[in-house]
Symmetry: C2
Subunit: 241 residues, 2 copies
């Protein structure tokens, strides 16, 4: 009997926004694995605080690099690929011994994120994925306004895209979600401006986490340092009886 | 003391994919309101089966029309607007008497859906919205493949859009989600074909519900009658170490 890997989405941050299923799997886990940056506790592990059963074994998987090597450097992919292969070997050692492993994922496991790099390397049929509330759902809920109405087109954009690509998509869609903000905030702001959407843009930090803030993007200082957990939302204005 | 309205997302269908918070609010509710088509039980109410406490009062809100009047007819908006105003009056009568009301919402309340038409008519600060796992998350999870990688652009499209608009967005984005399928399936198929995306499209019915099916859209018969709970997914192919 081989064990299974459960990739469970923990949702946007508030432990109450975890699904009942993720909560059940987590509180019944014997092995819990999670990614983290070396030397940090890790956001996924932090979300699981108080829910991992006593006696469960924790398996941190520490990224060998995060931003030290640029994405465009071929070594980045090589180093990360070797890392994911190694993580999968560790998980496989557990499942081959008959144990189930719960892998903690921030947000929804199949929506961006890192878990999918393990998923595609694990044997087909050996993994169950539990979807979750996304960070973007928490962000638009935090703005207190529905994000899409009627036939609105919604596009999700990464702030790492080049400005021309961002502008083109920002013009084309009705509702917008921009993630991976960080140092890309000035570029995102400029693209929104070029697309005529800056005045309608909201900026949310730490949605559904302690320290949540919501403001018009136009009120955010030019030199503001955006944390990892920041999202820009432009609401659609579609049909509304 | 006036009561509050809680718009709780119930998620995609599987009761275990409800959030812990929605579950807590639902199982502690004294008043539960939900939309339904006249003469039907209603999907939202069905999802709450076995979770509404004994003695709680149920408040069905029955749509005066669904597809009997075309969306383009001005009477459609008039009739629905009067209906939502009436629903809000019913909720306000409860909250003014000091009672909290839980309003059941399919999927995520602020992502398409009907709850937002109540939300915008209720006094500011009197409503709390609980985000949820979306139907699209359940659909891409059901395909067994991550929907977005790296810097993929994801667009969410309604099948009710005209074919040229659908085609344009299907060409522009990396990952696609198409909802509101029903009688629009032939048009959606044709737009995907024109955009060169048909071969990569998956068709999911009843994601995270009993009777879930997943197949390549190209394998779905031309004359297939798509139910309300059907979603088309095209996965992004972005950066993957």
């Amino acid at each position: 009997m081989t064990g299974r890997v459960y990739g469970i989405g923990l949702g946007p941050g508030d432990p109450e926004l975890m699904t009942v299923k993720a909560h059940r799997l987590l509180t019944g886990a014997r092995h819990v694995a999670f990614f983290r940056k070396a030397g940090r506790k890790g956001q996924a592990r932090t979300l699981a605080d108080g829910l991992i059963p006593e006696g469960a074994t924790e398996h941190p998987m520490e990224y060998p690099v995060t931003t030290e090597i640029p994405l465009t450097d071929p070594r980045y992919n090589e180093v990360l690929s070797a890392f994911y292969t190694d993580c999968v070997a560790r998980l496989a050692a557990l499942t081959e011994a008959g144990d189930d492993v719960v892998v903690l994922c921030e947000g929804d496991p199949f929506f961006y994120g890192s878990f999918m790099h393990l998923y595609t390397r694990l044997p087909e049929g050996s993994v169950e994925v539990v979807p979750a509330v996304t960070g973007m759902s928490a962000a638009w809920t935090a703005t207190g306004q529905p994000v899409t109405w009627g036939d609105d087109v919604m596009s999700v954009l990464m702030g790492t895209l080049d400005e021309a690509t961002l502008t083109r998509h920002m013009k084309a869609a009705d509702a917008l979600v921009v993630m991976k903000i960080g140092r890309n905030l000035p570029k995102i702001r400029s693209a929104l401006d070029a697309a005529g959407r800056l005045a309608a843009a909201w900026y949310v930090e730490y949605a559904a986490m302690p320290g949540q803030t919501v403001q018009k993007l136009s009120d955010v200082p030019e030199d503001h340092k955006a944390p990892y957990f920041s999202i820009v939302i432009v609401h659609g204005q579609g049909r509304r009886p």
